[in-house]
Subunit: 220 residues, 4 copies
């Protein structure tokens, strides 16, 4: 009788203020997480508020307590997913001083993530976008690599178009999920070639080993 299993941790907190704020963050997270599969199913325009309300099991009114528009929710969902990706990728590459290697390793991991996490992949496909945060990182590495003289291409806009265009379109094909890491290498090699990276340098960058995917492996 001294032990009470926490089946409803929400109600455990005693002070309104504290519990309220925690609760608020939790509800927000609930809405976002429930929204991701909804966006993954429909495109970014089609889903209606009721879809999110039903998916999250909340009321219409509650939705408006957290998000004013569908777009806001979409942005939040993209940010959340971006965070996830970044959290997966950044630790792996942040120690690497060479921007080209940072970029190509990150791109390989991004492709792998989009391929192995079906929800993330579908989400990206529906939304046809890479996610703002991930783009920021990629842009920075690209820019640095360009400054360091790794590319023949000198136009930053074109460099981005190449990187994101090839990435998005190659993830769109139904085959994307097959092929595994080998295809990831091909895709990134294509991007680097398009950017005009020296072939030897490409081989070097792609030879960097990555941590084995922990997705779908659940080491716990």
């Amino acid at each position: 009788m001294t032990y009470e299993p926490k089946t409803k941790p929400k109600r455990v907190m005693h002070h309104r203020t504290v519990s309220g704020q925690a609760q608020k963050a939790k509800t927000r997270e609930l809405i976002i997480q429930s929204a991701i599969p909804v966006f993954a199913k429909h495109g970014p325009d089609n889903p209606v508020i009721d879809d999110f309300v039903q998916a999250a099991g909340i009321s219409r009114g509650t939705f408006y307590n957290y998000f004013q528009t569908t777009r806001e929710l979409l942005d939040a969902a993209m940010a959340t997913l971006s965070d996830e990706v970044i959290a997966t990728i950044v630790p792996v590459v942040e120690g690497e001083p060479n921007p080209l290697i940072r970029f190509s390793s990150a791109a390989r991991m991004y492709y792998r993530k989009a391929t192995l996490d079906p929800l993330f992949g579908q989400f990206l496909g529906s939304v046809s976008s890479v996610g703002a945060l991930a783009m920021e990182h990629a842009r920075a590495d690209l820019q640095e690599a360009m400054k360091a003289g790794f590319f023949k291409i000198q136009d930053m806009d074109l460099a981005e178009a190449i990187a994101f265009g090839v990435m998005v379109f190659s993830l769109r094909t139904p085959k994307a999920r097959q092929g595994g890491d080998a295809r990831a290498l091909e895709v990134v090699r294509a991007i680097l070639s398009a950017l005009g990276v020296d072939p030897a340098m490409i081989d070097l960058a792609l030879s960097v080993p990555l941590p084995s995917s922990d997705l779908r492996e659940d080491p716990i």
Copy 2:
């Protein structure tokens, strides 16, 4: 007076049937042409039927006599625009036996067309697509060039992702319109590099002269 030569054999169908068909084709064309700028402004999902109705200066009912859904109209508009592009490109390219040169010349002209025809460019940007007919042509050339051993890339899906991804994304940037034919060359060079074409071969393919653009003479 007993014999009357039939100068109007078309009278086989009741006259309204004949003249009506001409009229019907005209109205259909009117709706499609008026719809293109509408799609160019909004994306493919946002515009409402009333937008098309007003743009074409027709009545709501008339719209439904021709198209049941917005999507149907979008498809028709894409087909029409595709036809236009094809009509511009095919004559220039069809005599060329080398599929790589066919592909790269066509890609350069496509880029040029999308760049110089603001409507076409905006339309493509809004819709984020290349148009089915144009894709068919490109696919055929790509496939032949791949079979002929011009590419390192061996996966047709990836080849398409590269070609269309780089093309679409590089047309999306605001800078696309500046840069002129020089940027077109850069873009197509990037595509060919990504496909793994031999550098000398790339130079050769891109050195093929194209007819000077007759669209929008901008000598500067």
Copy 3:
């Protein structure tokens, strides 16, 4: 060159006036006949003008040359069908001096007709009506029979409600088409009983032989 095959007999007539009038009657009849199955399928309210236009293979404009409203066409169709029924029934009963026998024989034949002619039956079922002309005849016979003292019922409205109510509702049941003439006898017997006709008189009236049905028999 002297011989021209007459593939279009409509155009053969020489005087506009003559051919026009014949043609007009024919088109009207065409529209009505084509409309009957349409009414039989939908109820009396649901069908739209386009249904009739398509069924008759004419143009919208032509429809309005003959009928201003759907209701007008419905009335014309009912009249046409009534005429058919009357034409079947009247010759059989008009020689009969006894109004009760006239009424019951007519009712039996009406039931038979509605049962054997699927179109007529469905039409009646959809429209839930007996047809004005047939009602006129029935009313006259009922009235005369009432005056002659055949009924206990003395209220003409009630007499009609009985006759038409039982007839319409018993034709509505899916079983109506089975049962044949035997069920017709039962139905008419029920009507006569409800009207308060003397049982012996009922037996007499129902013993009158009717001409064997020529529908679905096609003696030719």
Copy 4:
């Protein structure tokens, strides 16, 4: 002071959930009750959603929160009215062991109700139907009476056609409202005669006294 009896156990659901359900039932009832005169005026097909919206003083959107189609509302209205009638008739009749007497008393009261309650009568007339629930009851009594050997008629379908056909058509006539209970007797007598009930039995069944109508005391 340590013990507080829970007088409001309903708080198990969030308060709006509970009070909302009461409100929802009220609005539903409001829509239905407002719809009855609308159906009574137009037929069952003609009225448009706006008629109901205006009659109930609600918004278009609210209508769709409760009913998807006009037909759904019609069914609900019929059910409600049926319940009312049943509630009037059943208590009077349920103690009676003889199914024939149950049937004829119920029929007399039904006729009276349809006659005295103008709305109910008009509604029935417009819709040309008896209402599913009332039909269920009548059917049960008819069937039992038929099994007990009260009828010459042996076909249940025909028995129903007689009962409902005469009832509906005799309520349709403008005279129906006059005549009062005397006409009710005549109508039910006609039905019983048509069913082939023994005349003495008819007299017996119709001699059963009914509670004097409490609807709309119109001594004239």
